[in-house]
Symmetry: C2
Subunit: 339 residues, 2 copies
DNA sequence: AGAATAGTGTCTTTTAGACACTATCAA
DNA sequence: TTGATAGTGTCTAAAAGACACTATTCT
């Protein structure tokens, strides 16, 4: 439903329609502020990072929040607003933005989520290749790519995964998210998606090649405040975004959106390991990726040099033309605990 | 991001925070009307139906639209607004509503989607068991369950599936949706979901048992106007909802939400066939459903009578406690055309 | 009696995953 | 030279799907 449907009237001639619209007063209707917020994910040094901004104003002054802003009513679509805000916050130009995958995540409008007024935010999820350091552009006092592992997303675990699905079912998580079953997506509202309680540990410290590829270059020492909870309900939005990302790379080739135009299978595996938070079998992963039609296509070239500590030079690939992976790359570790 | 972050200020003491909020004027911010619209699906006589209301007022007077209405700013969550509107439109009480699955589908806010003013609608998707005839309650002049097959959802095909994903990629659909690969979900905005262009036809007229179970009881002769395009962008929202529904029953036990508390495997198969629009192998389906842990559990009882034209009495089951199906029931027919 | 139907058995193909192995390259 | 690494081969188990078959019930 859109707008009212109370006021009657009969006869649907164009003239009457035009007259009606001319006499229409939008202020007769309840209004809510509408914003977009972006969960922008990227890989830096083999670890998953999310773009956050430090709030310059109240409320939650000094706290970290998702980049975003008001939708320009009637002048842009929600998608356009999200792209615009992402560009403003990252300083990306149109060409770079083109390489970023952007999709709607869901809307959040609980009363009181913003203490000032009713605000509905339409959250977006972005997958970006490694981007230049965020300039605290726009109106944020600072912007930074923050390792997802450093966030406290509300369930008391560092890896940040179990969202309200898990909380809803009352299951207690004793393991990081690698053990979660694949959650098909859905809006943030209701749902039947699982959270799995899984007994078997999957050593998160040993997330193989992702970490291996990256020497101990501790970039931007992260502000203490990041460990504090995010502003508004942004912790939940980020958690939902991570859930979506983890599910999405199972069925789509979107993992390639985290990489450059050309990449090796090992780098691609690094994406999956970083997003899923668990190591994958190198040999099987390699064979599987090549067996999915349209996932990647060979460039014929090979990487400039071999593995970090030796080994043959890896072949280079670029993203294929598939929009869906078939067969899919299912997450391991969901045991049979999908109940 | 929520609300402004421009106005500076330092020091985050609680008193200052309170003072700030007291002095805050929400009218400083651009406002947009926010509504919820519900794509409510159910099965009637073995065919998938969607709940529509006839618009009593302008614009689109006399056209069919999704049920929905304004969100009561600050007084209810989006989920609550959707549940309220659904109850109002169907006349369901709380107990019945409890058996309806409701989840957020996505938000739609293109400029001009409502000719009167900027409106963002948060669409919801509902799966309901066969409900009493919709009373044109609330403010709609009429409400009716309309067979999805009778809708013209914009791509020139009766089955209503290919959405803007297909249009975006410029693929031309020559087949109904049975041939679509499984689309992982995503918001309505961007995406990489496929639309598959598939050569092999899957006779949509022969949707086996679903139709077979239902004798030729042509219910409510459908108004001519339904074949006209839906109001606003509701055709696209319905198409997105159908896509979501088709994907969702692959990985979740939500197909049971279309049935009563107790059901037979054959009835469950009818749900899949109606939603996917293609016949399934009875024997394999039966074995597969029973092999998925937590999908259904036996009640011990059997149906009152056997199949319509003979056969043994089917056993009765109820929904199990699984939130996800593992292994999933993947849609057939996606060929290898997932590219 | 005849026909349709619920449910099971069995076989083949595909896919997932474990493991072993070779060839290549960095240090 | 040593050791890590890219990539392949092979085997087993799980799952998908085709087909045949039995037993039960309606007309």
């Amino acid at each position: 439903m859109d707008g009212d449907r109370e006021r009657g009237g009969s006869g649907a001639e164009d003239d009457a329609e035009r007259a009606f619209l001319a006499a229409y007063d939008p202020r007769d209707f309840p209004a809510i502020a509408v914003t977009v917020d972006i969960v922008a994910l990227t890989l830096r040094q083999g670890a998953l990072h999310v773009l956050l901004v430090e709030r310059g104003g109240r409320p939650f002054q000094g706290a970290w929040a998702l980049p975003g802003g008001f939708v320009r009513a009637g002048r842009e679509s929600l998608d356009e607003a999200a792209a615009r805000e992402l560009a403003e916050e990252t300083g990306l130009d149109a060409a770079q933005l083109d390489r970023v995958h952007l999709e709607q995540l869901g809307s959040y409008g609980d009363p009181g989520r913003d203490p000032r007024m009713p605000v509905v935010t339409v959250a977006y999820l972005a997958f970006a290749p490694d981007l230049p350091e965020a300039r605290g552009g726009g109106d944020a006092s600072a912007a930074a790519w923050v390792p997802v592992a450093d966030l406290d997303l509300g369930a008391g675990h560092p890896a940040a995964s179990r969202t309200r699905q898990a909380r809803r079912t009352g299951q207690s998580f004793t393991e990081p998210d690698a053990a979660r079953p694949r959650p098909p997506e859905q809006g943030p509202g209701h749902g039947t998606d699982g959270g799995g309680s899984v007994p078997r540990p999957a050593d998160p410290a040993a997330v193989g090649s992702a970490a291996a590829t990256a020497p101990e270059t501790t970039q931007t020492p992260l502000p203490e405040t990041v460990r504090a909870r995010l502003a508004f309900d942004h912790a939940r939005i980020v958690a939902d975004g991570l859930d979506r990302a983890r599910a999405k790379i199972e069925y789509t080739p979107l993992a390639t959106a985290f990489l450059g135009a050309e990449f090796t299978i090992v780098e691609l595996r690094g994406v999956y390991e970083a997003v899923w938070g668990s190591p994958l079998h190198a040999g099987n992963f390699h064979r599987k990726v090549l067996s999915v039609p349209g996932f990647v296509e060979s460039t014929g070239a090979t990487a400039a040099r071999g593995g970090a500590r030796g080994g043959p030079r890896a072949r280079l690939y670029r993203a294929g033309d598939a929009r869906l992976l078939h067969p899919a790359l299912l997450r391991p570790d969901r045991e049979d605990s999908v109940r």
